[in-house]
Each structure stands twice: as structure tokens, then as C-alpha cells.
């Protein structure tokens, strides 16, 4: 079973499903008829059908390759997905709390968290508080600089601390 679920096969299936959903969405459009031109659902439908065909081709060629066994063993993937998802979780929290805690606090926390997580283990033990403090200070300073540049100098509004209001 594992050998059938190659990258291309998986993406082919997902894309096929997506194009079906897309075509359903195209039917939901309340079209306003135009006298001569194309209606609002023309392009979405066209794209949906094209994608349907293309993803079918992708799926078919991929299955064929697996069947013929000429699929080259891809080797170990360089991606460590859990790391990426950890980062994503951090980013999601960053965005989620932005309107509650404001830009400054969230950024400091985010920078501190990410920098500590990304740092080289050679540089020091992560549990060591002196080590963490260094990153906290860097995070605070960077946030201050960014804040100064954007809000004070460029007058761009950024989310404020609003738990109270």
C-alpha cells in the first residue's frame, strides 16, 4: 500500500477532490446574466474543469509509474515536518493573541520563543537561565527598534494592548 501512495498520487487525489469542490462552489454563484459577455461563473467553471483534467492526468501518470515500478526511490526527505508545524503553531498563537495583547508583547514573546527554539544547541544549555535571558533581551531590543521605526517614524498603526477595553 505504501508504495502506491507516492507524493504525486497523493497530490493528484487532493487536487481532484479540490476541483470537485471548486466546481460545486461555482454553482453557488448567483450569476447576474450579461447580455453578451461571459457570466461570473464562466471562468471559475473553466478553471475547475481544466484542473479536474490536469489532476486526473497527474494521478494517472503517477499510478502508472508506480505500477510499472519505475519509480525511483526518493530517499529520505529533508523535511522535518514537526518542526515546521511547531513554528506554525507559534505563528498562529502570535496572530491569535495580537489583538488581545497588542503588538509589543506578542512580538517579544514570539521573537524570544522562536530564537530560543532555533538557536544552536552548541551555544549553551537551553535550560540555563542566563542563556534564555540573553535571548529575551535581544527580543526586547529588537521589538523596541521595530516599534520605533514603524510606529513612531513611519506612523503605521499596529495592534494595541486591549485586554482592558
Amino acid at each position: 500500500m505504501k508504495k502506491w501512495l507516492t507524493k504525486d498520487t497523493c497530490s493528484g487525489i487532493v487536487l481532484l477532490a479540490f476541483s470537485v469542490w471548486w466546481l460545486w462552489g461555482a454553482n453557488q454563484i448567483n450569476v447576474r446574466e450579461m447580455d453578451n459577455g461571459l457570466a461570473a461563473d464562466y471562468m471559475p467553471k473553466l478553471l475547475g474543469y481544466v484542473l479536474l483534467v490536469l489532476s486526473a492526468i497527474l494521478l494517472a501518470t503517477s499510478l502508472l509509474k508506480t505500477y510499472r515500478g519505475c519509480h525511483v526511490e526518493e530517499g529520505k526527505s529533508p523535511y522535518r515536518h514537526w518542526k515546521a508545524f511547531g513554528l506554525l503553531a507559534g505563528l498562529a498563537l502570535y496572530c491569535l493573541f495580537m489583538d488581545k495583547l497588542g503588538f509589543v508583547i506578542c512580538t517579544v514573546l514570539f521573537l524570544f520563543g522562536t530564537m530560543s527554539a532555533l538557536c544552536d544547541p552548541k551555544e549553551g544549555n537551553k535550560k540555563d537561565i542566563k542563556f534564555l535571558a540573553k535571548y529575551l533581551i535581544i527580543a526586547a531590543i529588537l521589538t523596541a527598534v521595530i516599534y520605533a521605526i514603524f510606529v513612531v517614524a513611519f506612523k503605521i498603526t499596529l495592534p494595541e494592548f486591549s485586554l482592558m477595553s
Partner: protein
Amino acid sequence: MKKFIALTLAMLMVLSLAACGSKSNAETSSSTGTSSSAPATSATETPKTDFPTKAITVIIPYDAGGGSDLMTRKVCSIVEQQTGWTLTCTNVPGGSGATGYVELLSRKADGYTVLGCTSTIVTLKAMGTIDYNYADYDVIAGYNQEICTLGVNADWANANGIDTLQDFIDYSKAHPGEVNIASTAVGGIWNVDTVYAASVVGCDWTIVPNGGGATQAVVDCAGGSVQACTAGALEIWNQASSGAIKMLAVMSDERIEAYPDVPTFKENGYDAVGTTTRSYLAPKGVPADVLAILEEAFMAAVASDDFKKYCAAQGSVAWNTSGAEALAQYESEEEIFAKILS
């Protein structure tokens, strides 16, 4: 001990940044750089109401740099000069204003958030795009009206002996279906006005919607891809002054000051009036006295010479009206639009 001090210092730094962040944000981000956030010195007859005590946010539901954006900011800057208030403008574009209109509804009705709208506040609900229209807001005051204008490609007009609006209408009736008029998107104000005009005039015009907006429509006409176009007066005049387009008529009650040679549809016997009306809105439920203060301030700004000159240069009309009058205008526009858009 050292680590503890380092940590505490860092924490203090962070907290102080957060504190001054939330305070200075209100002060530093003002639309024209004036940093005074002094309480209002409004000369109203209700001394009890202490409004405003902090900055007022003005939502602009259009892209920065566009016509509506600039006009709203102009009025805001005049209000600031006249009253000493602080007005902070933010752009929330999307969906011809829809995103901004919906955003306003989520704000508190305390008078500290207002929005500068156009006639899309009427059309969007009529088209079914959003569920809200002007009736769901408190209208503070009206400030500007821009007039729909008809222009034709000069070369084509000369080749067919078209000099006036009546010539154009006669030609269109003689050649049904041949005349293409470029306009904005279906449901856009100029497009709706053109459909309305077509029904009043009784011509079979093919209205070509243009995804690129009014400017693109006008360029199409100037270039000859279409024979005519409808847009705001200024956009057409820009091309008319180079001779590429002939400005045939405007859809207003009276001739526009800036273009005294261009007749109105009404003069020619066709009662077609097409405008986009700009006004200020607030979420429904603003206390009456606060509303009155806002109304007075905005009306004073609109009545100023500065703004009148600005509008005249744009070819639009400084429209100094109270909230109630603006509301009435939107109601009458809705009658027209609803028929066309449903």
C-alpha cells in the same frame, strides 16, 4: 542574582514599551501629522457633552490614494484645523466598500468611529452583496456629490456628425445595438446611472463593464475601442482637454461650475440624474447630542472655502447637507437603483 536582575530589567522594558505603545499610538498616528489630542473645544449649545476626549477613527473603505480616500482625508484635515480634534484615518478597502461598511458595524456606537461612504452604501444591499444599507447606520452629514458624465470618442463623433447629446441619441436610435458605452463594473455607480439614463432616453446602448474601473473605461473610449464612456466628470474632462474625447452631457440638476459649457441631460429634456453621494456614517445608536456635535463639525468643514475650491478643481460638487438630508438622498437613490439592480 545577576540573572534575576537581567530578567527583571527585560520585563520592565517590555511592559513600558507596551504601555507607551498603547498611549502614543493614539497620539502619533493622526492623518496630517498634527499631534494635538486636546479635548474638543466645540462651540455647541450643549456644554454638558464632553465630546470628543480622544481621537476619532475615520474608516475609509477604499484604497489609499483613490478619489474617495483623498476627499475623505481632505474633509478630515479641515475638521481638524477648525476644531482642533484628532482624526485618524485608516483604509479598510474591499468589495467597493463592503468590507469597510461591515467593519463599521462591529464598532461601538459612541461617536469615536465614523466612516466616509459613497452611494455603494445603497447599491451593495440592492445587489445582495451585503445585508446592510444606509438604514443600518446613523448618517452624520453629506459632503460631496460626483456627477456621472457622458463622453464620446472625438474622432468617431466627428466622423458621424455628432456634436451634441441629441445627435448622439439620434444616432443611437438609428443604429440600435451598435453604440458601445464603456463604464465601470455592473452594479457600480456609473454603470447603474448609465442603465438608468438609457431607460430614460430610450436607447439601446451596449454597456461594456470594465474591471479596471472608471479610468480604464475612459482610456478605452479615448483610444477608440468603444465609442462612448461614462464616468465622473473629472476623469472625462482629463481626456476631453486633449481632444480625444468630447464631453457631451452631465447627469446633474444644473450645470457643473467647472464645466460651464457642458449641458445637462435635463436641459435636453431627459430627466436623468446620476450621482454618487458621499457622506459620513456612524454605527446606529450614537447618542443624539454626540451626533449633533459631529454633524456640526463636518458641515462646517464642508462649507469652508478650502473644500469648495478643492471640489471645484475635481469637477464635483461640495454638498453641504445635514444627516437627515443625506439620508433622504440615499432613500431616493435606492428607489432608482432597486429597479435597475434587482
